[in-house]
């Protein structure tokens, strides 16, 4: 498998339009690009198979009563190589196994916090294994560590 190179493609799953906009701008500030946005589970289902983003930022509480947990499971099945990061104001709602996701960023986040998390995640994809310590804004799950090990 060829290792992804910059700029990475990012999927944003967030039902608050203002937050999605902000996130998109920040992702672009790091030199990567947003390839799609979704506000609900059905929006994600409607995305093309070929999209295959490198990173997905997923909110937990989504539009039309859908859950980011289900979105994470769906992304995990469709695009197994996508690094899934929850962005949530309620980290306690995330299950123990992270539903297969690779980490989380707590809301509200600072611009610096998001940018450093983005750099860290991008580096782990482009040049694994990641040796620098994780920024405080990013909480890695077991799946993240496993993915790192398999790349090494």
């Amino acid at each position: 498998m060829t290792r992804p190179t910059a700029p990475l493609s990012v999927l944003i799953v967030e039902d608050e339009a203002l937050l999605a906009m902000d996130l998109e701008a920040m992702v672009e500030d790091t030199g990567h690009g947003v390839v799609a946005e979704a506000a609900s589970l059905s929006d994600v289902l409607a995305l093309g198979e070929e999209l295959c983003p490198n990173i997905a930022f997923v909110d937990i509480q989504l539009a039309r009563g859908s859950s980011g947990i289900d979105v994470a499971r769906l992304i995990g099945q469709r695009w197994p190589n996508t690094v899934i990061v929850f962005i949530t104001a309620n980290p306690l709602k995330i299950p123990q196994d992270f539903a297969g996701a690779h980490g989380l960023i707590a809301k509200p986040f600072s611009r610096i916090g998001l940018l450093s998390a983005m750099h860290y995640i991008a580096n782990s994809i482009i040049a694994p294994p990641q040796t620098a310590p994780a920024p405080l804004s990013f909480i890695a799950s077991a799946a993240f560590t496993t993915a790192q090990a398999s790349h090494a």
Partner: protein, 504 residues
């Protein structure tokens, strides 16, 4: 009767009542016949016990002999007594029934003993333990005929007083006991009422014998009929499986350490009703410290538990909302700074947008469940842009409500449109006007179709912007996210138009 409170009474004056000389003669004869060398006679004469002899052959059965102890006991001298019937010792409080029983014994010539209230010469009463027995002899009327009555008297006042006192004490104790019993029943009744009012049930559990005693209130808490048997086995059976071990352990700790029993647990009643139970108890021990029983109360705390759960949910939800709101504010600030050409412009944009967010939240707090009415959203969002003359805006539409996400989106969108209209559009010149119109109609699948129009006129000629500003991008994003359909801004020269055609 208590001699302590029995007054001395005036006595009949014996000297005024004459005595038949014949009787005195008989008494003399009896005295003369009594041999001074007869030990029985001397014994009677000097005895401590008062004794008397009467002669029933003479009229009215007069006393013909008394010993000196009799004189000492009654206070009368032998001279006063001899020749009289013994009834002179009676007085006002002497029981007529006692007198009657002496009379019948005398008449039937048989022995009698009884306690009789008599009076001394000085009028003071005393209890006389009297024995009267007939004496038979061979005489003029034939062999073995009634000749005398012999009587002995013994002062038992002290003994009688004791008895009377003890009887009085006993009566007192009985009534005291009855009072205690009444008070106890009363207290018990009050306690039962209080327990009932507090919806408390009491129980007692013998951990050694495994015996459970539950009050009717306790059984009610567990959904069991008041007259049904409630065993410890049944009790454990009702406890929610997840809580059973915990309750068992808590009881064991109380039994082994004497620590107070205090535990809250769930039960599923036999009628399949879920309840939360609060239980407290203390260990009672024998003198040697070994456990005797645990006694305590239970109460149904379902209402409190439900309220606690609800409160926890609300607190969770509030935390989530506050964090989301802060994140939104952060996004507004970031985006405003990113697109502003100057710090002053950024400041105005940020404060305006945060105010707009605040307005949307006001609407949401008021109409938490159904969402806000579109008319309210428009009025509130445009309020700060209206000069109060009623000439700037024409606002028309149905009173349909939209969900919270659309409320926020529409409110923010209107703020951006109005801000741009003030800066560059219809509201930047006198006489400018904006029409705001919408319709909501039923659509397939239980959804609704929502059409919205913002149309400016009377402003300067419109030139399309060279790049999309934050406001425009935000409007499109907001609308795209929360509605299925389109939100389009067009720039005809006559005035900016913004349309939404969607299903919601």
């Amino acid at each position: 009767m208590d001699s302590q409170i029995m007054p001395d009474v005036p006595r009949p004056k014996l000297e005024e009542i004459p005595i038949d000389p014949q009787v005195l003669l008989a008494a003399d004869r009896f005295a003369a016949a009594s041999a001074r060398d007869n030990p029985f006679f001397v014994g009677v004469e000097d005895a401590i016990l008062a004794m008397a002899v009467s002669d029933p052959t003479l009229p009215d059965n007069p006393i013909i002999y008394v010993n000196s102890a009799f004189e000492t006991l009654t206070g009368y001298t032998a001279a006063e007594i001899i020749g009289r019937n013994c009834r002179f010792l009676q007085g006002p409080n002497t029981d007529p029934a006692d007198i009657a029983s002496i009379r019948s014994a005398v008449a039937e010539r048989r022995r009698v003993t009884l306690d009789l209230l008599n009076y001394r010469r000085n009028g003071s009463p005393f209890w006389n333990r009297l024995m009267v027995t007939p004496v038979f002899a061979d005489g003029a009327d034939g062999p073995n005929t009634l000749r005398y009555f012999f009587a002995s008297q013994f002062d038992v006042t002290i003994e009688r007083d004791r008895v009377v006192m003890l009887e009085a004490e006993q009566r007192g104790l009985i009534s005291e006991n009855a009072r205690f019993r009444r008070e106890m029943l009363d207290t018990q009744a009050r306690l039962d009422l209080a327990l009932q009012a507090g919806q408390l049930g009491t129980w007692n559990y013998d951990p050694v014998g495994g015996q459970l005693d539950a009050s009717a209130g306790c059984k009610q808490v567990f959904g069991i009929a008041a007259d049904a048997v409630f065993t410890i086995r049944h009790f454990y059976g009702l406890i929610h499986p997840d809580d059973r071990e915990r309750v068992h352990a808590a009881l064991a700790v109380t039994v082994s350490t004497g620590a107070p029993f205090e535990v809250e647990y769930r039960i599923i009643t036999d009628a399949d009703e879920r309840r939360w139970i609060g239980a407290r108890g203390v260990l009672l021990t024998r003198r040697d410290g070994t456990p005797l029983s645990i006694t305590g109360f239970v109460t149904d705390i379902s209402a409190r538990k439900d309220a606690e759960e609800h409160r926890a949910l609300l607190a969770d939800e509030l935390t989530h909302r506050v964090k989301n709101t802060l994140a939104t504010v952060g996004a507004v600030v970031n985006q405003s700074l990113r697109t502003a050409s100057s710090l002053a412009e950024a400041r105005d944009a940020i404060s305006g947008r945060i105010a707009s967010l605040s307005i949307a939240h006001d609407l949401l707090i008021r109409d938490e469940d159904q969402g806000a009415a579109i008319g309210d959203i428009v009025q509130r969002a445009l309020h700060t842009f209206d000069d109060g003359t009623g000439t700037l805006f024409t606002i028309e539409g149905s009173d349909a409500r939209v969900d919270p996400a659309i409320t926020l989106a529409l409110s923010m969108a209107l703020h951006e449109l109005a801000t741009n209209a003030v800066k560059y559009g219809a509201l930047s010149l006198p006489g400018g006007h904006i029409d705001v119109r919408w319709t909501v109609a039923p659509a397939p699948d239980g959804r609704r179709s929502f059409s919205f129009l913002w149309q400016e006129r009377g402003g300067p000629p419109v030139t399309p912007p060279t790049r999309n500003g934050f406001g425009t991008r935000m409007i499109q994003r907001l609308m795209g996210k929360h509605m299925r359909g389109q939100a389009i801004t067009t720039y005809p020269p006559s005035g900016v138009e913004f349309r939404i055609e969607s299903t919601i």
